[in-house]
Symmetry: C2
Subunit: 413 residues, 2 copies
């Protein structure tokens, strides 16, 4: 008998029929003798509906009241899932985030979990009930309702799993697990049976958006082993855990791609302390997420006066108009020569903890791309990732080439 | 400056536009310098929608989970109303029943308020905020979410008004106040400016369903003065309060009618102790509300053997099939001779605390009815009410006649 936390996202509980399906799945696990805690999101579409209502009564709804409003979405799902389980004769009890003892700070709409007091959860488990917890929400020590922001339900599941020392945490979603590459782009992509937290983090930040980084970071910090799997079939998913020796034998874990990117180069910036700081502070203040940042050494041959440099960064194409305003102002102020913007690019990343101890991964990637004639526009590396910027229309081809070159299609059976 | 509690029902907050209208009304009162606590129901239709979802996942949803589900309805409204007020620049804060300190017993779906700890309400009022409270809900001392059952939001308003010692409690609804008779039936009916708790209770139990008796009883018990008025205009409503000397000068306060009734006579029941008790216990166990009960003395002339009697009671026509099963079983068992059921009847009630000290009210009513040739089928009286059962098709006419005879059309200006 194990103690298992399962999390079902909005699509998995998107209508009454699907909620009944989740109940059937939970019943199967319970029949095997396991104790179960289920974390659920709002039914898909519900949160958007609530936000629409908010916009109809207020031009700029306040965060505290948005939390009060949005928290009803998950509360609806927990009640319905408890009913569906009871309808199958399974004792079940629903708990709001507050009732489950999830205490957060007071930053409404993006609260952080401060601590969890799972007394009620444990009591109801001991009584033999399946405990159903509203994801995405908590309350402050003063009793104000808060929500955890994007990826909040995953975070609830992993935090609860940590607090009650669950044997396993299963994140049910609409994909089968984490793949060596997006199977819609690379038909030979394989599901990865096991992956380390760090690899999962790099995959997530590289466009393979199975989960928000935040939840993976939390799991890593507290050593929560979790499995990403599908709520629409019975296939085993991907286990995410601390790295093991055997993992290191795999050099490259997967290849991911992020489209819809843009590249901004600020050319001829005076090469003195504080310029980059000022630039990226302004961009952060405008709530624009910048991804890759590359600054090369200043070389006169490059057309730059000595003492001047070029800074290039990538960002989501949709953020470009907002970013442009900030940059234009700053570029003038800092005495930059020119601003170059390029859309139609994609970021291709190769991730794997094995590459730390294996040289030549970068060389292999560059060779793979050159063999299919894809030009590399930018390069950036971390300890377990190599990312390159390529032309968006060649991205799929580049991904397939890299996937093949690293032998990912055959590596896992 | 007064401290005012206002309650708005589901129709008054039925859509975003109406919520904005309520915000405008609240703003008006606030501009006059008043402190305000607003209690709201779920938007009309929302509760039914949630119940429909519940039925889609469970044949017989459990009460605890129904409470968890239904409580989201009011929670949605409080958040939206707070946003709408904030959008007008008015500081506002929403509180769930639990956050407002409403503690109930553990009888889910029809919980009773045990006590109120309005610390949070008082704090936010002191901060200068309009405090918006979810009606119809509370929590047990153990932190379980409960709902108060029918008329629950009115009860929340009156209980909060009592707990914070409000100067006035206004129940906003879709009617202008309490009338001497239903204006749709009696065109000369007038709005009653002031009415006693007892009269209001008798009016409510006589088909003038402005409010559930329960809230009026609570107000009477704790001496909460409240006003029933419309959320769709600015007319003054009806003040409900303890009786005063001047009230007693009005003999009859109003006439009300209840249609859709049925009458059941159990004839020839052995006239011995326990028979009636057993009959009405069985009916109560089946959750059927019986209204008038009449048992006359046993007289042999009436065809009944001495030692036998006839018991007649009225009930809602819709409850007849359920009631019939219980009665058939019991009648056989108790040795009753016959069961007579009659539909198509209505109950006409005349209510007024003045009738206690004025004789002849019954005579006046009977005369009024005989003048228009309406036959009286049953009579039942209390200290401040006379109720008669008449043919349903003649009910409106009978009501108009009684209204005229008691001078209600001209009594109030």
């Amino acid at each position: 008998m194990s103690l298992i936390v399962q999390k079902y996202g909005g699509t998995s509980v998107g209508n009454p029929e699907r909620i009944r399906n989740v109940a059937a799945r939970v019943a199967q696990w319970r029949d095997q003798g396991h104790q179960l805690v289920i974390v659920v999101s709002a039914m898909s579409g519900v949160t958007d509906g609530l936000l629409k209502l908010a916009k109809q009564v207020s031009a700029e709804p306040r965060d505290r009241e948005l939390d009060m409003l949005l928290a009803t979405g998950e509360q609806t799902t927990i009640a319905l899932l408890a009913m569906a389980l009871q309808d199958r004769g399974i004792p079940a009890v629903s708990l709001t985030g507050a009732q489950a003892g999830i205490v957060t700070d007071g930053v409404h709409t993006k609260a952080k979990i401060s601590n969890i007091t799972p007394a009620a959860v444990k009591k109801f488990l001991q009584d033999g009930s399946v405990v159903i917890i509203a994801g995405f929400q908590g309350q402050t020590a003063e009793g104000q309702i808060t929500t955890l922001g994007r990826g909040g339900s995953d975070l609830t599941a992993i935090a609860i799993a940590s607090a009650i020392k669950a044997d396993l945490c299963q994140i049910y979603t609409d994909v089968d697990g984490v793949y060596t590459a997006d199977p819609r782009i690379v038909p030979t992509a394989r599901k990865i049976p096991e992956i380390s937290y760090d690899e999962m983090l790099e995959m997530a930040s590289s466009g393979s958006k199975v989960m928000q980084s935040r939840s993976v970071e939390f799991a890593k910090k507290f050593g929560v082993i979790f499995e990403v799997r599908s709520s629409f079939n019975d296939n085993e998913g991907t286990i995410v855990k601390a790295e093991t020796k055997s993992m290191e034998q795999v050099v490259v874990r997967g290849v991911s791609i992020e489209k819809n990117q843009a590249k901004v180069t600020i050319a001829g910036v005076p090469d003195k302390p504080g310029v980059a700081a000022r630039l990226f502070s302004s961009i952060a203040d405008a709530h624009i997420n910048v991804d890759m940042i590359v600054q090369n050494v200043s070389l006169p041959a490059n057309g730059a006066t000595l003492g001047h440099t070029d800074i290039t960064f990538t960002l989501n194409k949709d953020d470009l108009p907002k970013a442009r305003k900030v940059i234009d102002a700053l570029a003038t102020e800092s005495g930059a020569k020119e601003i170059l913007v390029q859309e139609g690019i994609a970021k291709l990343s190769v991730v794997g903890i094995g590459m730390r101890s294996h040289s030549g991964v970068a060389a292999t990637l560059f060779t793979a791309l050159s063999e299919v004639g894809v030009n590399i526009q930018m390069i950036s590396t971390s300890e377990i990732k190599i990312a390159v910027v390529v032309d968006e229309v060649r991205a799929a081809e580049a991904m397939q080439a890299a996937h093949d070159k690293f032998g990912l299609s055959t590596l896992l059976k």
